[in-house]
């Protein structure tokens, strides 16, 4: 962990070297989608060199917190993924918010609240922020905490308001679908997908057969009990007569 802190701290201390090109909306959307799909290969392929730390942040978050290495002994420094995370050609400029978040990732022990934008700051990755908050609540507080705070729900609500106002982009609509899916997956009181017609038919068939079997069982038991008793009583009567 100490080596991770060192690496991440180095990333933050580097002086900006060049002006980086802004990511396009298409690129940002693709990055968010790759993150949502848990696709590190796609995520890496979508992050071109020459971007600043704010743009590289999804990759850093993914590799060092979302899916941290689990090898007990870290690899030798020469094989560290520094170059993968931070190519030589990359602009290493990081905003204050991104720096705080990198510090948060690097901090050992239980995680405090995820750093949020302060006055005058803009969150470059609001969907990822909601995902991180949601995951933290799931892991630390449980279902009740997620339901109470519901960061993904609040984000979805914002998207829906924009949708109603006609200002939601197609990209955001895709992301909204994903957010709703994640919220549906069993943890917000979702009971699973509704039964298909085949499943409904099978359930009804099972119930009908169970009812029929119950009636048959009762008749069978009645006969099994009544016939010997009748025979036994008749035997006793004939015995008394004789």
């Amino acid at each position: 962990m100490s080596r991770l802190i060192l690496v991440l701290a180095l990333l933050c201390l580097v002086v900006p070297s060049a002006h980086a090109e802004e990511l396009t909306a298409e690129q940002r959307h693709a990055i968010v989608m790759a993150y949502l799909e848990g696709n590190p290969t796609g995520l890496r392929a979508l992050l071109p060199s020459g971007r600043n730390a704010d743009d590289w942040f999804p990759m850093i978050l993914f590799e060092h917190w979302w899916r941290p290495p689990t090898v007990a002994e870290p690899p030798e420094p020469s094989t560290l993924p520094e170059q993968e995370i931070w190519p030589d050609s990359a602009d290493r400029k990081a905003s204050a918010l991104t720096r705080r978040r990198i510090d948060w990732i690097a901090a050992p022990g239980p995680k405090a609240a995820y750093p949020m934008p302060q006055a005058g700051e803009t969150d470059p990755w609001p969907v990822l922020t909601a995902l991180v908050q949601d995951r933290l609540l799931r892991e630390q507080g449980g279902l009740a905490a997620v339901r109470a705070a519901d960061p993904l729900g609040k984000l979805a609500e914002r998207f829906r308001q924009a949708q109603a106002a006609g200002t939601l982009s197609k990209h955001r609509e895709h992301q909204l679908w994903w957010i709703d899916q994640a919220r549906n997956d069993f943890s917000y009181g979702y009971d699973g997908d509704p039964l298909t017609p085949d499943q409904v038919a099978s359930k009804e068939e099972g119930e009908a057969i169970a009812r029929r079997n119950l009636i048959l069982a009762l008749i069978s038991l009645l006969l099994l009990i009544a016939v010997p008793i009748l025979i036994g009583r008749r035997a006793a009567a004939s015995s008394d007569e004789s």
Binding site: T70, G109, G192, K203, N213, A217, L224, I229, A235, A236
Partner: protein
């Protein structure tokens, strides 16, 4: 007390005694399970020794009854049984704990818990069983009036059987679940003491009476003729063999849930009780012997018919069109109807034989001695039946062959009796010969015919524990799930499954049959769209199952802290066909090796998987066995093996995937004490994962196990499986202070992304303090109502 009142009192004592014997037997197995497991060896040891003690008690009780003038000696025996049960309650757990076997079993050696179970049963349960066994013959002697011995035997035996019937429902389904093991022992002790008190009350002289009614019964003093004992032996054997085989015979349709077992045993006991009562009405008539042989032959004939034609009825009661869940309701009542129709009549007829035999035997010997001897020899037959049926007969002959053999034995003894009578005007020696010939023909005729056939079924075997079917389906697995990230195209992949008992759609092991056209939809990084492209080369079939729970369990290898220089040590409890092991190999972190200890109670499952699912070939490819990195312990209950593991045997990953009778987690593998033991074998940075199939995150079983894991180990996380509704995995770690996190390396497989998604997006920490379901409790070795919760969840 009036004569009628005393008679009613004696019947009540017989009933309570029958209840106590069976309750103590169930509670004994429950007490032993955390130490010795619940393998067939443990069950057989307990049942056989208890039956042997009962047989000795019958013989002794009969002789004691002949000499006694009141119920006082029997009452003292019952008070002794009560006292011993209190001793079991107080000292039993300590004795059992002291007998826990150490060290893993050696090949070819005795089963691990065999000797320990033997000693514990001898010390703890043989004495009360012996004392309670005295009851029936003693009471028969006291109830018998001149010329009505058979009637007395029938009544007493019938009430004793009704008591056992109540116990077979009440003890496993209610008492052990709600009162726990110690509570059940306490109740048994109280009932035994109350029974002793009632006996003492009945022993008091009543005003105007002697207190020893009908003591003037004249009794012959000769020995009990051997022929009646042989018949009792064969009938006892037949009853037990048919009882065990009937459950297994119907299991492919109804499964082996608690309710199915209770229905089968309950109906059989009801029929035996009615038969005893009815037999008592006829036994005292002159010329009843001919009726006895007719009764035996008719019962055997009915068993033959049931063995041959039953599948038609069973298929109608639980058709293959039903799913694994919807079949349960049909199975619950279907098993009751089927048992009554198929086996009610033969058991009624077999039940009639006891009073006949007591009556006949008492023509030459005293009543008590005769009753004791007949019951004892019948019980000896029962011991042979309970030892042979699950371990030898069913695995060797199948349940249908076992039923036929039981019928043949009954025909043989009936034919022998007819032959001895020599009064029916034909060569009666041909009767047993014809019966045996019919049996041989029937076994030959049905040989190799499966009990039940499913679409695509390749084979079916009956093991000691269950019916296992290999089924191949072209649409066996849908790849991938219909979710946009993975799912625009849907591929149907041919798959082989292992299915068990009534399983219609779920399975324990699977094997994708994709040798040449191994293509699945894969996300293209360039276009962010789905394309079809080949999977990476995989040896002899791909073990990935398309997002079923196997991948979710195998993902644990990405949670654990591991050292690249050492193999990741994995303990798999419930190895089954080895699917989890194969998936682990396919998906483990890059540059790692595995060192696996697998535990599987049913060796036949591994054999079938090796032969039909290619798992042996997969294991050979992965070279585990050659490198000594796979240890398989089969035929043993996992709890016994865990108890015996050396202290320094540690694992980074412990996976618990153990189910019994299709739908139940064995309680001894879900308790606080069990997880304490697992924690002791967890390496630093290791994780314990438990698979629970039920009602998803709402499942009281899953939440009870989660609460237990939290109590025993620490924070527990529930990971629902979005593509397999109802299934959840529970994860906990002793020293990792955060939720499980998927490590990056080696998780390239598309199909594993679904498992990772579940961990990262739908995992929740279980919070016991926020639990509102009152049924959810910490499970302990003493009280673990997991079966009851499972039944409620399944709606049965």
């Amino acid at each position: 007390m009036t004569t009628a009142g005393a008679h009613a009192g004696r019947l009540a004592i017989a009933g309570v005694s029958g209840f106590l014997v069976l309750s103590l037997e169930f509670a004994a197995v429950r007490l032993f399970a955390p130490a010795f497991g619940q393998s067939t060896y443990v069950w057989s040891t307990v049942i056989a020794l208890v039956l042997a003690a009962l047989a000795a008690g019958y013989a002794f009780g009969g002789r004691l009854g002949d000499r006694a003038t009141s119920l006082r000696p029997l009452s003292l025996a019952h008070l002794g049984a009560a006292l011993w049960t209190v001793i079991v309650l107080a000292g039993g757990p300590s004795l059992v704990a002291a007998l826990v076997p150490a060290g893993l079993p050696e090949a070819g050696g005795l089963p691990m818990a065999f000797v320990a179970g033997l000693i514990a049963t001898l010390v703890l349960f043989v004495p009360p069983a012996f004392l309670l066994g005295m009851t029936s013959p003693y009471l028969i002697r006291f109830d018998a009036r001149a010329g009505h011995t058979g009637e007395a035997a029938g009544s007493i035996y019938a009430f004793g059987t009704v008591g056992s019937l109540i116990a077979c429902y009440a003890t496993p389904i209610i008492l052990l679940q709600d009162l726990g093991t110690s509570g059940t022992f306490l109740l048994c002790a109280v009932l035994a003491a109350a029974m002793g008190g009632l006996g003492l009350l009945l022993s008091r002289p009543s005003p105007g009476g002697s207190g020893a009614e009908d003591r003037a019964l004249s009794q012959p003093e000769g020995p009990v003729l051997r022929r009646w004992l042989v018949v009792a032996l064969v009938v006892g054997l037949g009853v037990t063999v048919v009882e065990f085989a009937a459950v297994r015979f119907m299991a492919p349709w109804f499964g082996q849930s608690n309710h199915v077992w209770a229905h089968v045993i309950g109906v059989l006991m009801l029929a035996l009780a009615l038969g005893s009562w009815l037999g008592g009405r006829y036994a005292d008539r002159p010329g009843s012997l001919g009726a006895l042989w007719v009764v035996l032959n008719t019962s055997a004939f009915w068993i033959y018919i049931a063995a041959g034609l039953a599948p038609l009825l069973l298929e109608w009661l639980a058709p293959t069109t039903l799913t694994s869940v919807t079949v349960l309701g049909a199975a619950r009542w279907g098993s009751l109807a089927a048992t009554a129709i198929l086996f009610g009549v033969p058991f009624l007829l077999l039940g009639m034989t006891t009073p006949f035999l007591v009556r006949k035997a008492s023509e030459n010997a005293s009543v008590g001695k005769s009753a004791g001897a007949v019951l004892a020899w019948g019980t000896v037959g029962g011991i042979a039946g309970c030892l042979l049926t699950p371990t030898v007969l069913v695995p060797a002959l199948g349940s249908r062959g076992t039923l036929l053999i039981a019928g043949a034995a009954i025909v043989a003894v009936a034919g022998w009796g007819i032959h001895r009578e020599r009064k029916w005007g034909f060569d009666s020696g041909m009767v047993p010969a014809a019966g045996l010939l019919a049996c041989v023909f029937a076994i030959w005729f049905f040989h190799g015919t499966p009990l039940r056939s499913h679409e695509g079924q390749i084979t079916e075997i009956e093991s000691r524990y269950q019916t296992v079917r290999v089924v191949e389906r072209n649409d066996g697995l849908l790849l991938p799930t219909p979710r946009p990230a993975w799912g625009a195209p849907t591929g149907k992949i041919p798959v082989r499954f292992l299915r068990h008992d009534e399983d219609a759609e779920t399975f324990q092991s699977s094997y994708l049959l994709v040798p040449t056209d191994r293509v699945v939809p894969t996300l293209s990084a360039d276009t962010n769209a789905f394309v079809r492209q080949p999977l990476p080369a995989a040896p002899a079939g791909d073990p990935l199952t398309g997002g079923q729970y196997f991948e979710h369990m195998a993902l644990g290898a990405h949670y654990v802290r591991y050292d690249e220089d050492k193999p990741i040590r994995v303990l798999i409890i419930g190895y089954a066909g080895g699917t989890v092991h194969s998936v682990l190999h396919r998906t483990k972190p890059r540059n790692t090796k595995l060192d696996v200890l697998g535990i599987e109670i049913d060796p036949a499952v591994i054999d079938v998987a090796d032969e039909y699912l290619g798992h042996k070939a997969l294991r050979a490819v992965y070279d585990d066995e050659k490198a000594g990195r796979l240890r398989l312990v089969t035929g043993e209950d996992a709890r016994t093996v865990i108890n015996a593991l050396p202290e320094d045997d540690r694992f980074e990953l412990i996976l618990v995937d153990a189910y019994a009778r299709t739908n139940y987690i064995p309680f001894q593998l879900a308790t606080r004490e069990f997880f304490d033991k697992l924690e002791a074998h967890l390496a630093p940075g290791g994780w314990i994962g438990v698979n629970v199939l039920g009602d998803g995150t709402k499942s009281p079983v899953a939440k009870s196990v989660a609460m237990t894991m939290t109590d025993a180990v620490g924070a527990t996380y529930i990971v629902p499986n979005p593509s397999y509704p109802g299934n959840v995995l529970l994860w906990t770690s002793a020293d990792v202070k955060h939720a499980p996190r998927v490590g990056s390396p080696g998780l390239a497989q598309l199909l594993m992304r679904r498992a990772a998604y579940a961990t990262e997006r739908v995992l929740v920490r279980y919070d016991p303090k926020a639990e509102t379901d009152e049924r959810v409790v910490v499970l302990t070795d003493d009280k673990a109502p997991s079966d009851k919760l499972a039944d409620e969840e399944l709606g049965i």
